[in-house]
């Protein structure tokens, strides 16, 4: 087996207990929610008398005990059945998989932007800790770090969509625009600019500060004086050595931030009326669609686990010490 495959398998196996805990938690939530599957079935399919409902409960095993129900729930999940969405009147899985790609796109672009621009600015600040440039970036980033993404989204809408009319107010693409190919891609990109900015800004300054702080530590590392003694140019020391070392912990953060960013997408997608996975969570709560909410929670847990796995893989590529240890 190629090492990368066995690494993947081992990590997935390691994540199994965590998934089980999430599963149990979701099940408890389902139990705590008022009403059961029969109630929602009745709500969906119209009138039914008490006797019929009791019969249905018996058929579905809902009268059995919680352990039985948990087994049924887990078995269904194992078969990929996430349940029935009462508000969409469709299987939860199909609703989620329709919504997930948009959110993954949004998060992917936001992460790429936050990471690249944040580290770049962090390097500018960390190249000479204590300088004017460093202090300016520090203060600016601290202020921006306090800005809630959804509010930033509204402010951006006011400026760029309402006043300047440069960008669309919301949505993921112009409805019935008849565009295709590159034109459609451009349209989607224009719709993504503001939500990506709102979602990414906090992480951008987070990575900026992480990069900067780590660099100011690495400057004190003895290998830097060794490089100076060899006459290596300042810019090469900054970019090829100090920044290269400092980026490693920032990469670790990428995985840890996946869950937070997924949470952030709930509000940002609501602000920009983007029909994504995040907004689905809010819709599920608003429409009291518990099976859908549980599906969203489970899927986001899996998404976070996979994101962390990918980050670990990338980290292994970036840090030779880990690569050898594996």
């Amino acid at each position: 087996m190629p090492p990368i495959v066995s690494f993947f398998l081992r990590r997935l196996l390691g994540a199994l207990p965590v998934l089980v805990v999430v599963l149990v938690g979701s099940f408890l939530l389902l139990e705590a929610a008022s009403g059961d599957a029969v109630d929602s079935y009745v709500a969906r399919s119209g009138a039914m008398d008490a006797e019929q409902m009791a019969q249905l409960r018996q058929d579905w095993g809902l009268d059995k005990g919680p352990l039985y129900r948990f087994r049924a729930y887990a078995t269904a999940l194992a078969e990929g059945d996430l349940g029935w969405s009462t508000s969409f009147e469709r299987p939860v899985a199909s609703v989620i998989f329709e919504r997930l790609p948009i959110t993954l796109l949004l998060m992917g672009v936001a992460t790429a932007l936050a990471f690249s621009l944040g580290s770049f600015l962090g390097i500018l600040a960390g190249a000479s800790p204590g300088s004017f440039r460093d202090r300016f970036l520090s203060i600016a980033s601290l202020a921006i770090y306090a800005v809630p993404g959804f509010w930033l989204g509204l402010v951006l809408i006011v400026i760029f969509a309402v006043d300047l009319r440069w960008l669309p107010v919301g949505g993921i693409e112009t409805i019935a625009s008849g565009k295709s190919g590159l034109a459609r891609l451009g349209d989607i990109a224009a719709h993504l600019i503001l939500p990506v900015a709102s979602l990414a800004m906090v992480y951008l300054v987070l990575y900026l500060r992480l990069m900067r702080d780590r660099m100011s530590e690495i400057w004190r590392d003895p290998f830097v004086s060794a490089l100076e003694a060899r006459g290596i140019s300042r810019s090469r020391i900054v970019w090829r050595h100090v920044a290269r070392n400092a980026v490693l912990p920032v990469v670790t953060m990428l995985g840890l931030q996946a869950a937070a960013m997924l949470g952030g997408s709930v509000v940002v997608e609501s602000v920009f009326a983007i029909p994504g996975f995040g907004r689905l969570a809010a819709e599920a709560v608003a429409r009291r669609d518990t099976p859908l909410l549980l599906g969203v929670i489970l899927c986001s847990a899996v998404t976070v686990i996979i994101a962390n796995l990918l980050v670990d893989l990338a980290y292994g590529k970036l840090d030779p010490r880990v690569r050898a240890g594996r």
Partner: protein, 271 residues
Amino acid sequence: MNVWRRLNLEARIGAVMLSILVLMALLAPLIAPGDPLAITGEPMVRPFASEAHVLGTDRLGRDVLAGLLHGTRTTLLVAFFSAAAALIVGSIVGTLSGYLGGFADTVLMRITEAFQTVPGFLLALAAISVTGPSVPTLIFAISLGNWTQAARVTRAEVLSLRERDFVAAARTLGMRPLEIAFREILPNAFGPTVSLAAISVAAAILIEAALSFLGFGDPNRVTWGSMIAEGRTVLRAAPYLSIVPGIALVITVLSVHLIGRGLSRRERLVP
């Protein structure tokens, strides 16, 4: 004042800002008596246009300043208690996990990981969907996704404390394991956990705002998040209705971060 002198400039600015906010919260009923949700004037009065409504009124004619002041109460109340709950639960779990070790540690850490794997905001949404929105349930819901970091930090601290002299001494004195954990270890491990407090408070403020922005806040209280959401419906005509409460949010979170940075020079958890 001893504490004041130990704070750096950033932390002092933060402390002053937060004190003003606390004062606003305490004096809200005096400055703006009555129900902040009551309609008190013409709708959509612009800021500084009327003496009765310094910051103007919203779409329905509710006073913006009154909302802002009373919103401070909700924000600080929810943020403070949910951060406190998160820190307490987190340090208890972390202490148990670190001190007991073995199977208990494994189980507790898996649970912690599971809570970290599910986005905290979704956990809060899920909790609200079961309990319904009110101040106590909001506090509970927000702390649900906020305790894991405290658990990890405390656990790490406990692991390093476990082998120290005073713990060995307690053991030879015949104290029981749990007694040692909570009477000897937890108080010593609390220091680093407290430096997490600022982050927890800031996170709680932002989650509360986002929840009430989405309409999942306590419907009987005015909050900055709900004011932003309310203003959003007239964003084109009166953008300030959304912008003003947002600025209040930014100032509050910033003041907490400034204090946090001043307190935790050692572990810079706030960037």
